[in-house]
């Protein structure tokens, strides 16, 4: 096999195309993709683009992406809920008192401060209060707009700060140290700090978020025309818009002198130092921007998947490992490749998920397990196993990915012709 490929290099590309085609065909039954699928693809693509910016272009082996995505979700679950409560209390004083009298058993002996802690920290309080708060916020376009700005502002700033903090210890060291630190920081923040501290955002039980979308002006009019617009549609629109913005951003960056310098730094950081560039500072800037992008993605994701559980939902496989697979398959340091790889892997995983019960019905009699149980387990584990295999195969067969890296197009053909 390997020697055959060595003899006919074109076979590699052919093989990749066949694999891609097979994936899409397998995914055909799913082509009645739901809106949430399209939404999820948009979100994961933002994460892949951010990862590609950090790892593909700048050569930072970010094995801690999940944390940055979670920070965005935390902006809603941990911060947004409390900001919303504060907004409501400020605009209609006595709201907390009202809550307390409505739920004497749960909130009766809590001080106002404790209510603020418990609104995101205690599952029961969280459950009842968020819906009540949401109904007040929903009714006011000013309140919901304020909440949106607060939540996304926090997501961007906290995401960027976390990106800097996470990499600070190893930013001057070799890339393997950087990978270890990013993985360790992310794992411990998500699975220990956030998952074990109820007061932050519900700990292992998670917290429900207050959906922040403003119902302003045109939207209200539209709502009148169409009936109510489901939140998921707004989230989808925002997700697609942010995806487009991120794509334009990273693509412009990639085709600017900055992109070229990042690729040079990735190839040989010592030499780029000799040419007067500060590697540590550049890495920190890239970490801040990439992490902020991932954080925005996490925040938008939480507007649809409104119960935010740290370790459970924002696990390293879904948010670190799968994006890596998408990027490697599509082609590192190529934004179009990242998008293509993202779509293929998403659909592929979906297809396996779809076919898992069929596989389970075959193997369950052999193992003596109930078909439905086997199906559930296959659904959960098989896609991950195949993604792992995919990464290794791509690295072996076509390390440059489907669409290989290209020079940074800082000047167009016409511009070059004009000056030469």
């Amino acid at each position: 096999m390997a020697s055959l490929i060595a003899r006919y290099p074109r076979l590699q590309s052919l093989l990749i195309v066949v694999i891609a085609a097979a994936t899409i065909i397998l995914a055909l039954p799913l082509l009645g993709l739901t809106i949430t699928d399209v939404f999820s693809i948009a979100i994961i693509l933002i994460v892949v683009l951010a990862l590609n910016f950090m790892a593909g272009y700048a050569g930072i082996p970010n094995f801690g992406m999940a944390l940055f995505v979670y920070i965005g979700a935390f902006a809603l679950a941990g911060v947004g809920t409390r900001v919303a409560l504060a907004l409501v209390e400020l605009t209609s004083p006595g709201f907390i008192e009202l809550l307390r009298s409505s739920y004497p058993l749960i909130l009766g002996d809590s001080s106002s401060f404790e209510v603020f802690v418990r609104v995101a920290g205690d599952p029961m309080v969280n459950r009842i209060v968020t819906r009540k708060v949401e109904s007040v916020i929903e009714a006011s376009s000013i309140l919901s707009l304020t909440l949106t700005l607060a939540v996304f502002g926090f997501a961007i700033i906290a995401g960027a700060l976390t990106g800097v903090l996470a990499s600070l210890a190893a930013v001057r060291l070799r890339e393997d140290y950087l990978a270890i630190v990013l993985l360790a920081f992310s794992e411990l923040m998500v699975s220990v700090v956030f998952d074990q501290t109820d007061a932050l955002a519900g700990g292992p039980n998670g917290a429900w978020v207050v959906r922040p979308w403003p119902r302003v002006g045109a939207l209200e009019g539209l709502a009148g025309l169409l009936g109510t617009i489901p939140d998921v549609l707004i989230s989808l629109a925002v997700g697609l818009a942010v995806l487009a913005a991120c794509f334009i951003y990273v693509e412009r960056m990639a085709n600017s002198p900055m992109g070229r310098m990042l690729r040079a730094m990735r190839d040989d950081d010592l030499t780029i130092r000799v040419y007067g560039r500060d590697v540590a500072v550049t890495r920190l800037k890239v970490m801040a921007i990439g992490a902020a992008m991932a954080s925005i993605a996490g925040a938008i994701y939480a507007t649809v998947y409104i119960q935010v559980k740290a370790a459970d939902t924002y696990d390293r496989v879904t948010w670190t490992f799968v994006p890596w697979a998408m990027m490697i398959l599509g082609g590192m340091a190529n934004n179009w490749g990242a998008v293509l790889g993202g779509i293929i892997v998403y659909l592929g995983r979906k297809a396996i998920y779809y076919y898992a019960p069929a596989i389970a019905s075959v193997i369950s009699p052999i193992l003596g397990v109930e078909a439905s149980i086997a199906g559930d387990i296959l659904r959960a584990q098989l896609p991950n196993i195949l993604v792992g295999v995919l990464i290794i195969l791509v690295l072996y067969l076509r390390p440059q990915g489907i669409i290989p890296e290209k020079p940074s197009k800082t000047l167009s053909r016409r511009e070059i012709e004009a000056i030469t």
Binding site: R252, R260, A264, D267, D268, L270, G276, K285, P407, T410
Partner: protein, 237 residues
């Protein structure tokens, strides 16, 4: 043992200065000290009247001190053109914000591009500017690296470690002629460590010979090479 022992030397501006000496005489150490990779235990380094002894490597690079490596260190996934143009520092398009607005850097980029193209043309690599370094021959890699050392905004002192090692004799002459030409035309100062003395001697304006961490002779290159002390240092006991 000290790699460098009370070394004092002056490198004349806009000239090609040759640094020679047998193995272990301290030449590369000297280059490392001047470029800021190593710190001296004592003494001072004055560059254009400025004491740079305590400056870091990338600060010195900003003053116009550039170096090349014995084995060319090229960016393997960048094209030949990109390898050259990335040598230009101070590009406004290398800021995370300004890079997004092409009009803020396009003029600078155009100038840098033309400059890089000129340098590549000069060394005969223009036709290969879209290739990757891996597709070049050894001599071409050397040429590309030397043209990159000339790309910074204001290259004043270029330190090169064996620019013609592993290069065929014809190309070796071309490379050194190119260096000489740049020195004459652009007033760039070169300090060259080179072992191919037969070739190098033709293009250098001045020479220093080192042995066991000390400067043992200096002056007109041919005279230095014929200095009995220098010959002795090469021949050994």
């Amino acid at each position: 043992m000290k790699a460098l022992d009370e070394v004092s030397l002056e490198v004349p501006r806009g000239r090609v200065t040759l640094l020679i000496g047998p193995n272990g005489s301290g030449k590369t150490t000297l280059i490392n000290v001047i470029s800021g990779v190593l710190r001296p235990d004592g003494g001072t380094i004055i560059f254009e009247g400025l004491d740079i002894t305590r400056l870091s490597s990338h600060e010195r690079s900003k003053l116009g001190i550039v170096r090349s490596f014995q084995i060319p260190r090229l960016f393997q996934n960048l094209s030949v053109m990109e390898n050259a143009i990335v040598g230009r520092d101070g590009n406004p398009g290398e800021s995370v914000a300004r890079s997004l607005f092409k009009r803020l850097w396009v003029e600078f980029e155009k100038k840098a591009f033309l400059d890089a193209l000129g340098k590549l043309e000069f060394v005969g690599l223009k036709g290969l500017s879209e290739r990757r370094p891996g597709e070049l021959s050894g001599g071409q890699m050397k040429l590309l690296e030397i043209s990159r050392t000339l790309m910074p905004m204001n290259p004043k002192l270029v330190l090169t470690d064996e620019p013609v090692a592993g290069v065929n004799p014809v190309l070796a002459h071309e490379i050194l002629a190119f260096i000489k030409n740049v020195a004459v035309e652009f007033g760039v100062t070169f300090l060259i460590v080179e072992h191919r003395l037969d070739v190098a001697v033709e293009y250098a304006d001045y020479a220093y010979a080192m042995h066991l961490g000390k400067v043992i002779a200096e002056g007109e290159p041919r005279k230095v090479l014929e200095d009995p002390k220098v010959i002795e240092s090469y021949l050994g006991m």
